[in-house]
Symmetry: C2
Subunit: 589 residues, 2 copies
């Protein structure tokens, strides 16, 4: 049984940055070659980043990307890395538009490809068959599906190559991989993190491996891109379902593993399958050459098999990664946020400190006449514990002139306070170049419990997909993690234990307006995340009046949500891109 | 040759308002019956409104909509309207999900249908074959395509029914309509207005009619829905390409016309075509019955053949319709906006006054220490000319305390003025329930020439898809239209003629920062609307440095655009829903 040394390059590309992304790939191939790898595979679209969205409809962008693939092949050869077979993900085009109708609207002109680079050339190319167009995915909009299968014959092994969704579909190309009798199936992916996704994704990879009795090498990108976070978690599973190697989550990693793959048999190929013979001369430095000019395989490198941390740690890492990459990839070096003494801003500050270093986080306490003493002291304590930059800007003298001139009362006066705070944060942002973080959580976003252009301002919202109860959970987890490391738990006990309040009028608490968070989060989970109808939610045992109230708030808050900042998606149904709803809408369910 | 009296119900539905939308249909059927119509057709999704977006993924919403179709059939019969054949557009479902993969993401469970109601029952149903998924359309995301054709045999005529995109696709079901030898093709549509769309849509309808030698009855919805505006413009064209009837744009209308359609021949039906025999007893009140229990056709009613107004008037009407319906359908009765004396706010105020009446428009002049005298006097004159509500709120005393406390200078101090104005408008909105209008135009939105959370605040942006040069054109047109009606031209000459300025520092003009608008709008048209690459724009003859500057601004402004209010779409490429781009993005074209 031939042995192949496979390297999976779990890289963190930036969308559009073809030069930087190509450098990441060259670095990975060099490191892989130093470890004697025969084959290197990158994630889906690793050359351009993912998702490229409607950039795929720009002919000039596609032409640039296509040139970059050829340039990458040439560069690898020029740098002495041409013998290693490299499978790289990229868009290909422009092709003729898929739709041949009379409409002159922009249509798909690109394919989502895996290209095989060898000895300075692009020797073969696979185009993704199944184009996901649900949730956050818009691929049917921008890509033309492929219909051919690709098999590489490499050192006696038939290696099939597919892209992401192709693996998920029953009846997809995996069945034809089996017919083609491939020894190794390489799947390149851009598969976003979601809570509990490891309960779906790894079982799928395992099932496909055992179904086809083929080794499956699954490589994913890593890092934050707008509201998506890719967790990596690249893995190699053999035909018995055994995990041979697994990369850690949320970090760039080169996963190298030796696989003993079935040698090809000269079966006739099923229709639409192309086979490319590769004469691989891949060699570890100094290895002597064996038959066919190939090096004898050295003893297997000990492969990494990373263990997944528990749910809350995974979530924390996803939020930290999403925040860090949004800041970094958009050219910021520091962030500012309001510290109210409450739980949401405390958790956001801790995420930011973990993401970019406490010294780059500028917390601002902005007490009003209604702020309690403990709010102020909890904010002080948080800043002290985290070691973030900290200042205090009282708002009373700024609110008063506006309130008086416009004679604002009631909700208008309450909102004014939140908007003055927004002006302070945006002023500091404009003066010092900080990115403003929005501290709202998913629950308040769902029901619109925030002030538009007030506490909702900011470029990035670290916890916009975290329901309120989970915010508390994460705060407790972060404190426990600190204790376990012998550090001071950062989140003040007061912020965790006191009843939540917007403090926009005397003695206000969230529960003056909203049902208890245990009820609210459960109703939102049913109505929003699981998309149950109003009556079905009532049938779960909730009070009808409460359900009416909550679903009414949700239905009326769509515009506020659309105006909100983006933030890391961690669940199957975040707000924003994976939920498209009308704003103008009269519900009658 | 049998004669059919066809009525096209060009209605203005509200998304989700099944009760209200059904009432519009019942009213139309009653009016049609009073005029002796045999057949009434509504627009696409007239029962639910269009687009329903991800509401189509809620099983409860679909179940409610499906019940509503049956209830509508029963109600029509109960109200004595059951003999009229009614074709109504609606979503049908929930069906089994289209995707049978392992992924548990939400997938399409609905079809986009035209149902035939007769004598209290839903007698037949057609499901749209071609699901547009480009530009503003997301139908592949939410619908399952149909594959059967429907032909109704009505009073001796074979009537084929298709939905919107089915007409546009070469090789679509229209070819099979021809094979089925239908005498009349009914197409129900939700086709948004775009500038110059009549140069594409009517020729298409005409071409399909002549290609198939069939009368084509094309019915469209009308009205604003978020950033879409449907123009109606329903039309009936015969097999020679002659327009038999045409409804006016932007208003609800019942278009009634007699058509002499070819009698069916008993050709064998092509595969996947179902034919339903309808025994129509449709009759005008008091008409005597003829053979087969049918009324003899009365003399043809004189059909309307509306003429399209010129381009600028169409645009103005689209903007007014979009604004009126957003205000009305979201339950507002009044709007507020800042009046700077500049051209953008003047045009927005005039649109708003035409949309909801001057008495419901609250203009606010918010002069700063940098505001020129003529800005103030132009704003006064505009308010006077339009007859809108008007107040003056100087901002100096509100800006000063913030500027001093935070020591803001430079751009931060400039932005502060715009943000204080936003606080004033939002305060008035919260106090009095006005919707805030954002006055930014497409050009400034494209390059980010605005203050986020400042002049960009507001729920609706009437001119967000109108480039700056076109804003001036529309202002001149509106003044000319007033003069033609013997009214005072509303837009002050000063607002049209003075150099545009943000007036955030002394003697500032837009052209301190931006290229001349003639150049800027032309580059934006090439780079954004026509999606040309950077080098292709230079090749058109623009200065390379200017192109670098402008495309750099566009690439960096995506987040600001996403944060902006929605507004009526009038071109092939507006910002917002029909352009999906990454925010985090490093261009390398």
């Amino acid at each position: 049984m031939p042995r192949l040394r496979v390297a999976l390059a779990q890289s963190n590309p930036i969308v559009g940055d073809l030069v930087g992304n190509a450098q990441l790939i060259v670095d990975a191939v060099r490191a892989a070659r130093e470890q004697g790898a025969d084959l290197v595979a990158t994630g889906e679209m690793a050359l351009t980043g993912y998702p490229i969205e409607d950039l795929a409809q720009r002919p000039s962008f596609l032409a640039t990307a296509t040139r970059a693939v050829h340039a990458l092949a040439e560069r690898l050869a020029a740098e002495g890395l041409g013998e290693t077979v490299v499978i790289v993900g990229h868009p290909d085009g422009p092709h003729e538009p898929r739709l041949l109708g009379t409409s002159n609207a922009p249509t798909a002109i690109a394919q989502n490809c895996a290209s095989v680079l060898h000895r300075g050339r692009v020797v073969a190319r696979y185009a993704k068959h199944h184009l996901p167009n649900y949730s956050v995915f818009d691929e049917y909009r921008i890509f033309i599906p492929g219909d051919e299968l690709l098999v590489l014959r490499l050192r006696g092994v038939d290696v099939a190559v597919i892209v992401c969704e192709d693996l998920w579909r029953d009846g997809g190309p995996v069945g034809r991989v089996l017919e083609a009798d491939a020894g190794l199936l390489v799947v390149i992916n851009a598969s976003p993190f979601e809570r509990d996704k490891d309960e779906v994704r790894l079982p799928l990879v395992t099932r496909r491996a055992t179904e086809t009795d083929t080794i499956v090498a699954y490589v994913n990108i890593v890092g934050g891109q707008d509201d998506l976070v890719f967790d990596g978690d690249s893995v190699v599973v053999d035909g018995h379902g055994t995990i041979l190697a697994r990369a850690p989550q949320f970090v760039e990693h080169l996963l190298v593993v030796d696989v003993d793959a079935a040698e090809h048999t000269d079966t006739e190929l099923p229709p639409n399958v192309r086979r490319w013979e590769l004469d691989s001369g891949s060699a570890a430095a100094g290895a002597s050459e064996g038959p066919q000019g190939l090096r004898p395989i050295a003893a297997p490198a000990p492969a990494d098999v990373a263990e997944l941390p528990d749910d809350r740690e995974q979530l924390w890492n996803a939020l930290v990664t999403g925040t860090r990459d949004y800041v970094r990839k958009n050219g910021f070096r520091s962030v500012t946020l309001g510290l109210s003494g409450g739980i949401d801003s405390a958790v956001c500050a801790a995420i930011a400190a973990d993401a970019i270093g406490a010294e780059n986080v500028y917390g601002v306490s902005m007490p009003s006449r209604y702020s309690s003493d403990h709010s102020r002291s909890d904010a002080d304590e948080l800043a002290e514990n985290l070691g973030v930059q900290y200042s205090v800007e009282p708002i009373a003298d700024l609110v008063h002139p506006v309130e008086t001139q416009l004679a604002l009362t009631g909700v208008a006066a309450e909102n004014l306070q939140a908007r003055i705070r927004a002006i302070i944060l945006m002023g500091l942002s404009n003066m010092h170049g900080h990115l403003v973080l929005t501290t709202g959580n998913k629950t308040e976003l769902a029901v619109g419990y925030s002030t538009i252009y007030g506490d909702s301002v900011g470029g990035f919202a670290p916890i916009k997909d975290v329901p309120k109860l989970l915010v508390w959970d994460l705060a407790r987890w972060r404190n426990e993690a600190a204790i376990a490391r012998g550090e001071t738990p950062p989140i003040p006990r007061g912020s965790i234990e006191k009843p939540p309040s917007a403090e926009l009028r005397p003695d206000q608490t969230d529960q003056d307006t909203l049902p208890p968070y245990e009820v609210l989060d459960a109703i939102l989970d049913a109505y929003v995340t699981r998309a149950l109808g109003h009556d079905d939610v009532v049938a779960l045992g909730f009070d009808r009046e409460t359900v009416d109230f909550v679903t009414g708030l949700v239905d009326r808050s769509e515009w506020k949500r659309r105006q909100g900042a983006i933030g890391p998606k961690i669940s199957g149904m975040a707000f924003g891109r994976d939920r498209r709803l009308p704003i103008t809408y009269r519900p009658t369910e």
